[in-house]
Symmetry: C2
Subunit: 126 residues, 2 copies
Amino acid sequence: MKEKDLRRSLSVLPIGTVMKLTDLTARQIRYYEEQKLVIPKRNEGNRRMYSLNDIDELLEIKDYLSDGLNISDIKKIYAERASKKVEEQKRLSKNLSDQEARMLLSDEIIKVSGLNPDDPSNNSTF
Amino acid sequence: MKEKDLRRSLSVLPIGTVMKLTDLTARQIRYYEEQKLVIPKRNEGNRRMYSLNDIDELLEIKDYLSDGLNISDIKKIYAERASKKVEEQKRLSKNLSDQEARMLLSDEIIKVSGLNPDDPSNNSTF
DNA sequence: AGTTCATGTAACTTTTTATAACATAAGACG
DNA sequence: CGTCTTATGTTATAAAAAGTTACATGAACT
């Protein structure tokens, strides 16, 4: 389900909302960014804008920390996960047809360019 | 799917985000509120906070307006829809057991009280 | 020509967020 | 024990975002 991924990766939430949703302080959220754990997009005015995926990551970090792990432990977990993803990616790319490759590319373009509010097929944005 | 409804009704988006998502100006969004079409929640600092449902309504209003309807036409459509909902509600309430009624009530309480960030069953917020 | 509707714009205030610097409690550790 | 590190709190200051209010305006209607 590709569309859901898109929605979840839209950076639309300001830090105040994230604070409420995660029950973290702004200080904590910015600190985890400083530690390169969750790096939000910025809007034109330099405000941090978070996605639903970012929220999930922050909640995960919160859990790990309360379980006694420290930031570098968490970084290791993320590194592990990332390398697994790369492997999976390699495995998949072996049997991608040109057609499929084009589709994935267009998905990426949509993600980078943001929403297209005039597209009438976007009945429900989320 | 009740959980999805809850997510969609969470007021988490500031007006700036809504502007981008709907391609409406702040003036337009506030005007539709003045006309009682989409009335957002407010945060502690009096800022308007919108839900995903609000976004959908705004997009619908935008469509209707560009189709040549005016605000009072749209109000009529909404009134129509609301009365249908009331009928449906009446019809359903006929065969609700006490058990079901209690469940619906607890759903309402959750909605009104906002998120419970400490509930460990909330694995993914959205 | 005058009125209404939907929207633009400008002025001014309050709230939110950013950055940076200093402070500190709790553990780790020689 | 004293010191260092880690994660977080606090405070000061600046800038961006958003609130309200009032006035302006083009298009459509009568």
